[in-house]
């Protein structure tokens, strides 16, 4: 049996719009998500903003009740056995929030150690051990309001591990952290898996998923559009090729014409300073001349062709959904 199991999970949010004439709206954030995570596996949930990653993770950690479908962690149902699930999981999310700024790092951990019923005698050594693990030894007594973003994020990880949970949920843990800090965090995450923990990680950084995850599920518009190892996902687009064209002032009509070309899988426009870069995924045939012929009126800069990456596989999957 999988450690984390989601079966046809759905979640709808009710909201309203308008000031005087209020209309209620229903937003389907997650639409039938099914996956399983095995013991000791690092499973990545990859998707753009608003794809349903955080909603999925919040259902799994018992903060949201699914509108439909079922989910379990270590065999405990996330709705019926919420307290049993909470005892066995750690939850870490990215960003500045989720800590008591006016308390020291140590007081923050003391409070959560109590909430997670860490035995009093074990609290002090456990907290010291975690400060050591996340590289915050010597900063324990400082107020969190003086911590940098990277330090806060590491404190979050320490908080999530206080009760030594066998399953850890990490929701975009490296978001907003500088490259060096993010690299250190990734090393800490890798250590968790080496220690035998089962980890579910959500991220929208391709290289992070590629580097860390054993398996990845790509989620877009509330549905899983692909699932497999990073290598298998890359293989989906390895038959094809990618052409990047730097252009200045391209019109939407030209992009549509490119998309309509035979042999073109997807066209993505990435703004880059004054220019835009067209990332065109093809089925492998030589299309450079045909592509340039559709760009009439736009000033063309550098043109290059390359092998597809995991990011291309991701963009292709998300664009197609």
């Amino acid at each position: 049996m999988a450690v984390i199991e989601a079966r046809d999970l759905r979640r709808t949010y009710k909201t309203s719009t308008g000031t005087f004439r209020r209309r209620s709206l229903e937003v389907e954030a997650v639409r039938g998500v099914t996956f399983g995570v095995e013991q000791g596996e690092l499973f990545g949930l990859l998707g753009p903003n608003g794809a349903g990653k955080t909603t999925t993770i919040k259902m799994l950690i018992t903060l949201l009740i699914p509108t439909d479908g079922t989910a379990s962690v270590l065999g405990f149902d996330v709705v019926k056995d919420a307290r049993e699930v909470r005892k066995r999981i750690g939850y870490v999310f990215g960003g500045d929030r989720g800590l008591y700024d006016r308390l020291s790092g140590q007081d923050n951990l003391r409070y959560f150690a109590e909430l997670y019923a860490v035995p009093p005698r074990e609290q002090r050594p456990r907290i010291a051990e975690l400060f050591e693990l996340v590289g915050l030894t010597g900063r324990e007594k400082e107020r969190v309001e003086g911590y940098s973003r990277g330090m806060r994020q590491r404190l979050h990880i320490a908080r999530g591990l206080l009760h030594d949970p066998p399953v850890v949920f990490l929701d975009e843990p490296t978001i907003g952290v500088d490259p060096v800090g993010a690299r250190e965090l990734r090393a800490t995450i890798a250590q968790l898996v080496e220690a035998g923990k089962t980890v579910l990680l959500t991220t929208h950084y391709m290289f992070e998923a590629d580097q860390l995850c054993d398996r990845i599920a790509v989620i877009a518009r509330g549905e899983i559009v692909a699932e497999g190892t990073p290598a298998a996902l890359k293989a989906n687009v390895s038959e094809g090729g990618v052409v990047e064209v730097e252009v200045f002032g391209i019109e939407d009509a030209s992009v549509e014409r490119l998309r309509a070309l035979e042999g073109v899988h997807s066209v993505n426009v990435e703004p880059r300073e004054q220019a835009q870069v067209l990332v065109v995924q093809t089925d492998g045939r030589e299309l450079t001349h045909a592509l340039l012929a559709q760009l009439d009126g736009a000033q063309v800069g550098r043109v290059s062709a390359r092998e597809p990456t995991l990011e291309d596989a991701y963009v292709s999957l998300v664009s197609e959904s």
Binding site: L63, I65, R86, G98, R102, D107, Y111, F112, Y116, R159
Partner: protein, 256 residues
Amino acid sequence: MRTARLLVLGWLLQLKVMMRSAFNGVLSVVWPMFFATTAFFMYRAGRDEATLVYASLGASVMGIWSATSTSASSVLQRERRHGTLELLAAAPANFAYILIPISVAMSTIGLYSMIATLLWGRFVFGIELHLVHPLLFVLAVPVTIASVGALGFLLSVACVRYRSAWALGNALEYPVWLICGFLVPLALLPNWVGPISWVLAPTFGVRAIREAALGGTPVADLLACAGLGVAYFGAGILLADHVLRLARKSAALQLS
């Protein structure tokens, strides 16, 4: 034992969080002066010392109530804004035992307000406090604080489910000053106010404190205040898990 540790440590750390807020600090200094001054100017025409003590004690309980009522609701909004409410809800501890120390920490801040009000009245307006039943007075103060904290806890339970419920605390602040007889005797208010005041522990708390200080029979009021406090705690503990479930269903734990 574990529950007691959770309650005590939670209270201590929440108290630390509140005491380190510069904004709360300024309010804690200004409010007691405001309350004591209001009470003095309302009653100074009577020139009766007992009346001034009566008003001064009422004003001191106003501080406890104001520190709790407005904060009980806004503190949950603060937890929500800081992203800690979700983490508290995701912890395996009983949710009620997480909320109780937060409310009681707020009424403890009210204790400071009470002392400051009495001192301001003593040194600025010369209102001297001679206690007829000092032991009962010393007992009545913490019982009133705990009961007001329990009422704050009940309010905070509502705030877990309803994001806008923080406004409820603000809306209740001033009416309770009147309904519970902090400044004006209940006998002067319309009859229909009576039943409302009887379900509010501060009514009995302030009466017990006054009777312990000025003479009378405070025990019955003290017991009524304690009984209502226990009832609020009981209702809050029973409701907390249910309300948390509703909040999980409606996604009310997060800010957006």
